[in-house]
């Protein structure tokens, strides 16, 4: 297991290098001159030219890439083109809101998703199952931003239960995380359900029943644990969705998070910020997947003992 983790960690390096090249190319493929955008419509040509020089945009791509990579490793991520602030200063305050949002969303969706999935697997074919699963399908059929706007209209404006926007208190995160988590809950619920249904057909479930165990123990100890092994992987996959969804949710609820930062920075051609945020995203995604794989291994003795 340790070796496996080590191996995977080593694997990250080449992936990140390829990713960084892709990100770099990607950024520079996007048309738009950051100097011109930062300087604004009223800027003079001279001003723009000096700025290009200062930002190193006139250097050959290879040099720019080298600087970018060197910067990453030496901890000098450069200054944001847009604000002039060091990139880390721009990024770090954005991490917390996104993190809280992500954690809130994933936690409640995992709990709700698994519970819903289990209940409807047990009640398979009954009315409850039917309603719950259509609900779950609805969850992944709603455009996130639409759901967010609707929730805000109802719960903040009409009922005044939660703040409309912002990150001032934890209660501000409730609506955004419901919005963001709805789809994930639905995915997890559907997955848990089908995994539970499969598992409930397994021979060892029959064995545990034949032992005289109560249905509660059969489900919660024998079946659920096995299905968690499967569900872990699907939870891992949801992180990609989470990141993308956070862009929309942060826009709707005015949350100063990484997703919003990324979009704004892309629009502003704030290259230094874009490439760093994208690298962070990918890195995070890879690490989460690694964690998920490790958890999968831990949960699944077959893999743990190989």
């Amino acid at each position: 297991m340790k070796q496996y983790v080590l191996k995977r960690l080593l694997n990250i390096i080449p992936i990140m290098i390829v990713v960084s090249i892709i990100i770099f190319m990607f950024i520079h493929l996007i048309p738009g001159d950051p100097a011109r955008i930062v300087a604004g419509q009223k800027a003079t040509l001279e001003e723009i030219e000096i700025m290009r020089e200062q930002l190193g945009l006139n250097d050959p791509y290879i040099v720019q890439y080298k600087d970018f990579m060197l910067g990453i490793f030496t901890g000098d991520w450069g200054n944001s083109i847009k604000t002039g602030l060091p990139v880390w200063k721009v990024i770090i305050p954005r991490v917390k809101p996104t993190l809280i949002l992500a954690i809130f969303s994933i936690v409640w969706s995992v709990i709700a998703g698994i519970s819903i999935g289990v209940v409807s697997a047990i009640k398979r074919g009954k009315l409850l199952d039917y309603i719950v699963m259509i609900g779950a399908s609805s969850g992944i059929s709603l455009p996130l931003f639409w759901l967010g706007l609707m929730l805000m209209q109802i719960f903040s404006v009409k009922l005044g239960w939660f703040p409309t926007t912002g990150v001032d208190s934890l209660s501000s995160y409730i609506l955004p995380s419901i919005t963001l988590g709805a789809g994930i809950t639905a995915m997890i619920a559907r997955y848990t359900r089908s995994s539970m249904i499969e598992i409930l057909k397994e021979n060892y479930i029959r064995t545990s029943r034949a032992k005289g165990l109560s249905e509660f123990i059969v489900i919660n100890k024998h079946a659920l644990r096995n299905s968690l092994v499967d569900v872990i992987t699907i939870v891992g996959l949801q992180f990609g969705f989470l990141l993308a969804g956070s862009v929309l949710v942060e826009t709707v609820f005015a949350i100063p998070g990484l997703g919003r930062l990324l979009i704004d920075s892309i629009l502003f051609r704030d290259y230094t910020v874009v490439q760093t945020v994208l690298l962070i995203f990918t890195f995070q995604f890879i690490i989460i997947n690694l964690i998920v794989d490790v958890l999968y291994g831990v949960a699944n003795p077959k893999i743990r003992y190989q």
Binding site: V18, L149, F241, I266, F281
Partner: protein, 292 residues
């Protein structure tokens, strides 16, 4: 006593359904999927015939943002255009964007997936790494990036969505291929001397079809949502097109004034995506592929 030689029995053959009939019978049992299919069928009819009460570009500046009424069932928009007509016309647009995007994604993804699954090796790992990397960018961001590079507009939305659909299909088809490859009938065919091409086309690919069909249906929903999200962020179809996402995007500016502009396109997207998802569920239950 030893010789209990028995005659060839008359009842040797049973009436057994052919696979299509069996599939249909099983499918018809899934009521929500049948309803969903009906709804999709209805959408297709809308898309083909576009039975719009008004010309979608017909503006009426004296009658803007009017609430749903007997003349305009879904009200009018900021130019006084009939929302219902635009939604109906948008059906063709939204469906064809999704259909094209998913088809391209599915095609490329399947080819890559089959190659990666069947041949494996260096090529296979390269393909899968490529997918990992594509996967490690949040899907929507990838689409935004692509649209930012190649510019907004429907064609580019299609390209963006199909590109980010590729890794999904590659993975699904690869894992289907991997499990089919292990099946005995593949080995049986190989032992006969069937060529790789024939094996892939005749034996492996049809085996991945159930997975493909289900993934395809599900992705239709995702594609519609993605297209509308792109429009919402301003990266989507040109606003002159009656695209649902674009309508939503405009509609949100009128959220307190003309909620019908946000509500109906939103519901339309919701029901359409829901229909594809329910259909996908139904198909999966009937075709029973193991999706990861």
């Amino acid at each position: 006593m030893e010789e209990v030689k028995m005659q060839e029995a008359k009842h040797e053959d049973f009436k057994i359904e052919n696979p299509i009939k069996e599939f249909v019978r099983k499918f018809l049992k899934k009521k929500s999927a049948v309803v969903a299919l009906g709804f999709i069928f209805f959408l297709v009819i809308l898309a083909i015939f576009e039975p719009t009460p008004y010309d979608i570009d017909e503006t009426d500046y004296d009658n803007i943002l009017s609430e749903p009424n007997s003349e305009h069932f879904f009200g009018t928009d900021e130019y006084g255009r009939d929302v219902l007509s635009r939604i109906v016309t948008g059906t063709r647009l939204s469906l064809s964007v999704a259909l094209t995007a998913v088809t391209i994604g599915a095609f490329v993804g399947s080819v890559l997936g089959i190659i990666a699954g069947y041949y494996g090796g260096l090529l296979g790992s390269l393909i899968m790494r490529f997918c990992d990397i594509l996967f490690s960018f949040p899907g929507l961001l990838l689409a935004i990036g692509i649209v930012a590079i190649i510019g907004p507009g429907l064609t580019n939305v299609v390209v963006a969505i199909s590109i980010y659909g590729i890794p999904t299909f590659t993975r699904i088809i690869r894992s289907a291929t991997l499990s089919i490859k292990e099946l005995l009938y593949i080995e049986a065919s190989r032992s006969i001397g069937v060529s790789d091409t024939r094996l892939l086309v005749k034996h492996v690919f049809p085996g991945t079809l159930p997975s493909l069909i289900v993934a395809y249906t599900m992705r239709m929903g995702t594609a519609i949502i993605s297209a509308s999200s792109l429009s919402f962020l301003g990266f989507g179809a040109s606003p002159t097109n009656p695209d649902w996402g674009a309508m939503l995007s405009t509609g949100r500016d009128y959220i307190g004034v003309a909620p019908h502009m946000l509500l109906y396109p939103g519901l339309m997207i919701f029901f359409t995506v829901l229909a594809f998802n329910l259909l996908g569920d139904g198909l999966r239950d009937t075709l029973d592929p193991k999706l990861d």
